[in-house]
Structures are given as structure tokens and as C-alpha cells.
């Protein structure tokens, strides 16, 4: 139907009830702000395409953070630069909705630079309106990636120097290098004819989005009269004279009829199906009755430390894995250096009946030190009255603490005697079982095939011997 009146479009909320303060009938934008012009084009297009109730707008950080005061759409407000990521999730969870990521240049090109590139590269079904006013407007007019060479801002009082600050970033050119985007155009708001062209671009992008045609990117050259310290009419001239030569207007990508209708695989939401895929059984295999555990060992926080290759992580996983079968809540948190082998490694294990808070054993009740640096580093963190198990084969110093219980176990030596240094972690488990009374040796041995899935019977048998050796050593010597 042909319009007979141009008035506030229905894409806007009647009364801005979410806006604090008394002025619920006008925007918070400064006089002459380009955001208002673009808001109007978007609101009008949403009304005309009948998508107001099917649109979710992601507002950014910047002056347009409050876009949700005005648009009568669904809304999420994203962290700085993360609007494309939030839009991705919103779009994938609601594939039948039009999702708009509305962003400024500081938000999109600086802190969110990678977010926008990855979203564009995935061809997300979203529309990005990128308001480029060559400045950080909301925070007081600092330099943005899009600031022009020589432009004076509060952080470039001598003008942007490309030798120190780099060159203005041309986002349309960057985005149009990617394969996935459907439609990329740069428009300007500096005069009425160009606003009409911007209007056409906004409508085209939203129509494409309504038809699920992938990633739409519209860059809008806009103004910031307050940040630029110019009157609104002058700032429009500045867009024309200064910004447009650097940021050429036009269509950078338009797949037109060739644009694919994007569909995403339906996510698997059934936990049982996921477990089956991962080979995990939801049912418990065993449920061991607990033995006599001394009070001090009922709530365990353990640090296992040594160097990579000593079975540090395996020890931690086995402790947690066995405790789980006694019905404890457990956690295991690894921490290691960048080396794959030979670097330092440690892990934190919690075993208790209550809810586990912090997973890291900052002040452990027990330290299992497999080498000297680990003893030196972590001995002081053990709680008073706590327990230290150390590998006396490799550690040739005496522990300094007198307020803890100490168990010196020749872990590496015992493993070597059994014929394989790698069974150290099972010696550890045996020693732990003997000290705490938390595990029974036969229970651990029953569990070995599950803990070391895919290992042959000879290895499982050797592991069983190692558990027993660790257990017996502690029982006989302490």
C-alpha cells in the first residue's frame, strides 16, 4: 500500500518505557546524531517487511547500547565487540528469526574485530549494521580503528599518525574478501539522496535476512557532532569531504539470486544420544561400600605434582575415578607447562561428600610430590596437620615442615622393580589407599580395566601389582 504519511515507524516502541527518567518520548542521542537516522530506516523497514515481532536485535557497547529503549523487537545487549557472537547464538537457537547485530566502529573494528570476521566467515544468518563515525563517540571522542589519517581526537591531539597508530580500517573491503557473506555494501547518511540509498540497502539486507540468505553487512558512514565538536550540518559535510574519499560507497558483494538459503544442522539435545556417541554409560558400573576413613581424610583436597611423564595426571584421574565409585563428589584440574613431555606438571583433586567449590587445591590437605622442585614449591601450601607423600627415590632432601604427617615412599624405585617405571601412578594410588583408608586394594583392582580402557591384560596385571606394592609398603613401614 502506498504511504500517504511519513511518521514514526511501527518498528519503534510507542512510549520508551524502558528508558529511565522523564523523557520517554525522545531518544537519548545528541542533536543531529546519525544513529537516529539509521534507527528510523531500520524501524521503517521492519514495519514494511512485517518482521518487527520476528526480529531480535543485539545492541552493542557504545551510544547505541540503549537501542532496546526504542526498537519494539527482542533484544540482547552484548559485551563490547561480542554482538556477532551473541547474534550467532541467537540466530542458531532461533533459526526462524531475523537477528540484527547493530555495532559501532570502536565496537566492531577494534575490540570485536575477530568476532565480526569469524561470524562473517561462517556466513551466519544475521544482519550487521555497522555505524562508522571514525571515532569512539560514547566515551568522549577517542581514536578508533576507522579514524582518518591526521584526524584530531582526544587521544590523537596531533592527528592520527599512521606510523604510530596504523591506517584507517576499511571493514567492507575486509569482509568482502571472505567467501561466505551474501551482501556487503557501504552507504552514507550525509544528505537526503544518500539517505535514500542507505534506506534501500537497509531494506535489502533485512529482506535477505527474512529469506535466511546468510550474512548481510551494511556499513553506514555516520556522524558524531558532539565527538567531532562540529554542528550537525557541518559534520554531514565532513562525511562527504573527508570520509567518503577514503571509504568509497557502493556494493562490495551481492550474490543476488545465487545467494544460498542457509540451513544449520539441528543440534542433538538428547543427553543419552550424546553419551552413546561418546561411549559413556549413564549407569554406574559398581558402587563400592566405603571402609573406615579417618575424620581428617573425609574431605580431601590433593595436589599431585612432578614433571611431565611421571604419571601426574593419571594419578589425579585415577584418584578421582576410584573415589567416584565410592559415591564421592570429585573434581580433577590439570595444570601444566607448554612442553608435551618433561615440563612441570601438577593437578588438583578434590574428593568429598559436599559440593566442591574451587577446583584448584590452593591449600591442599595432601601433597603428593614426585620430584624435588615440586616438594620445594608446594610443601609450604599444605594445611597445618596435613599429609605429605613424597617420592624418596628422586627426592634427596628432608621436608622442612614439622607440622605435617610425612610418608617417604620410593615410588619410582618400586615401579622400576616391578619392571616398568610408568606404573608409578598406581603405586601412588596404593599408598593413598593405605594412608587414608578411603579405597580398598581389591576395589581398585576391580576398577583397573575401566580406568585403563583398551590396555592389554599384562598391563592391567602389572598395574594391580603396583597398587598392591604401594599399599603394602605404607602398611609395613608406617
Amino acid at each position: 500500500m502506498k504511504k500517504t504519511v511519513l511518521r514514526k515507524p511501527k518498528g519503534f516502541i510507542d512510549v520508551y518505557k524502558h528508558k529511565p527518567g522523564a523523557e520517554k518520548d525522545r531518544t537519548h542521542y545528541c542533536p543531529g546524531c546519525g544513529h537516529g537516522i539509521l534507527h528510523k530506516l531500520i524501524a521503517e523497514a521492519m514495519e514494511d517487511l512485517d518482521i518487527v515481532d520476528d526480529t531480535i536485535l543485539i545492541s552493542p557497547v557504545g551510544c547505541s547500547v540503549f537501542a532496546y529503549y526504542y526498537f519494539d523487537t527482542g533484544n540482547f545487549q552484548a559485551a563490547h565487540g561480542r554482538a556477532p557472537a551473541v547474534a550467532t547464538a541467537t540466530s542458531r537457537a532461533n533459526p526462524d528469526k531475523v537477528v540484527i547485530s547493530y555495532q559501532g566502529d570502536g565496537d566492531l573494528a577494534a575490540i570485536g574485530g575477530n568476532n565480526i570476521i569469524q561470524a562473517a566467515n561462517r556466513g551466519e544468518n544475521i544482519v550487521v549494521f555497522f555505524v562508522n563515525n571514525a571515532i569512539y563517540g560514547m566515551t568522549g571522542g577517542q581514536m578508533a580503528p576507522t579514524t582518518l589519517e591526521g584526524q584530531i581526537t582526544t587521544t590523537t591531539p596531533y592527528g592520527r599518525n599512521v606510523d604510530t597508530d596504523g591506517y584507517p580500517m576499511k571493514m567492507c573491503e575486509v569482509i568482502s574478501q571472505l567467501t561466505a557473506p551474501t551482501y556487503v555494501e557501504r552507504v552514507s547518511l550525509h544528505d537526503a539522496p544518500h539517505i535514500r540509498k542507505a534506506r534501500a540497502a537497509v531494506r535489502k539486507a533485512l529482506l535477505n535476512a527474512k529469506e535466511r540468505k546468510g550474512f548481510q553487512f551494511v556499513e553506514v558512514l555516520s556522524t558524531c557532532p558532539s565527538g567531532w565538536k562540529m554542528d550537525p550540518v557541518k559534520s554531514m559535510e565532513w562525511v562527504k569531504e573527508r570520509m567518503m574519499p577514503l571509504y568509497p560507497l557502493g556494493v562490495y558483494r551481492d550474490l543476488g539470486e545465487e545467494a544460498r538459503i542457509t540451513t544449520r544442522p539441528v543440534p542433538v539435545m538428547d543427553p543419552a544420544a550424546v553419551w552413546e556417541k561418546l561411549g559413556i554409560s549413564a549407569e554406574k558400573d559398581v558402587d563400592f561400600p566405603r571402609g573406615e576413613v579417618a575424620d581428617e581424610y573425609r574431605k580431601m583436597s590433593i595436589r599431585v605434582a612432578g614433571f611431565g611423564g611421571q604419571g601426574i595426571m593419571v594419578t589425579g584421574q585415577a584418584l578421582a575415578g576410584v573415589a567416584l565409585e565410592y559415591g564421592y563428589n570429585v573434581s580433577w584440574l590439570p595444570s601444566y607447562g607448554p612442553e608435551m613431555r618433561g615440563g612441570t606438571a601438577n593437578c588438583s583433586v578434590n574428593i568429598q561428600d559436599g559440593t566442591i567449590g574451587a577446583a584448584e587445591a590452593v591449600k591442599p590437605g595432601m601433597l603428593l610430590a614426585m620430584n624435588r622442585p615440586s616438594l620445594e614449591k608446594f610443601e609450604k601450601t599444605i594445611v597445618p596437620g596435613g599429609t605429605l607423600i613424597y617420592n624418596s627415590t628422586l627426592i634427596d632432601i628432608e621436608p622442612a615442615r614439622k607440622d605435617i604427617k610425612v610418608f617417604a615412599v620410593p615410588i619410582t624405585g618400586m615401579a622400576d622393580e616391578l619392571g616398568n617405571t610408568r606404573v608409578q601412578s598406581l603405586v601412588n594410588i596404593g599408598a593413598y589407599a593405605a594412608i587414608t583408608g578411603m579405597f580398598k586394594v581389591e576395589d581398585v583392582i576391580t576398577l583397573l580395566p575401566k580406568l585403563f580402557k583398551g590396555k592389554n591384560q599384562a598391563i592391567i596385571d602389572l598395574n594391580a601389582k603396583a597398587v598392591k606394592a604401594g599399599f603394602d609398603y605404607v602398611k609395613e613401614n608406617f
Binding site: 515507524p9 542521542y29 546524531c33 546519525g34 544528505d191 537526503a192 550540518v233
Partner: protein
């Protein structure tokens, strides 16, 4: 110049922030900044009362959603719902 009732541009004076973009955009120069102030303290824009051709430039140039309404040539208040 036409004295017909429509087309005409109407400025909601209390919502106008006086930025002047509509005045710069008007091809017929029939919008002016008022010497008077509105309740917000802005010199608001106002329509001179005749000469509007209904191009809509002022509406699309105006950053405020509800500050300008343009009634086009075919506007008929009787048909408005």
C-alpha cells in the same frame, strides 16, 4: 508555491532538538529554525506553512523518530484508521 493543505511537513516542536538537518535537506527551503525555544531549551525547526512538496527529505534526515511527520499529497484524514 502551493497553498493546498497537503502535502505538508509537521514538526513536533517539543521533540525537536534543533539540529538543523531537516532544514539542510529541504529542497524548497520551507523549514526554518524558530527564534523561540521549546521545553527542552532548543530552538526548534518549524514549517513555514506553505511550499512543501512532500519529498520526505526532512523526515528521513531527522534523527528523532517522532519529531517530524510528513503528510503526503494523497493524505486524507478521513481515511486514517
Amino acid at each position: 508555491m502551493t497553498d493546498a493543505k497537503y502535502p505538508r511537513s509537521e514538526v513536533n516542536l517539543d521533540k525537536c532538538k534543533g539540529c538543523g538537518l531537516c532544514i539542510a535537506a529541504c529542497p524548497k527551503q520551507v523549514l526554518v529554525i524558530s527564534p523561540k525555544l521549546n521545553s527542552k531549551g532548543y530552538h526548534y525547526a518549524e514549517y513555514m506553512g506553505s511550499g512543501c512538496v512532500g519529498c520526505g527529505n526532512c523526515f528521513y534526515s531527522c534523527p528523532e523518530p517522532d519529531a517530524i511527520t510528513v503528510y503526503l499529497r494523497d493524505y486524507d484524514p478521513e481515511k486514517e484508521v
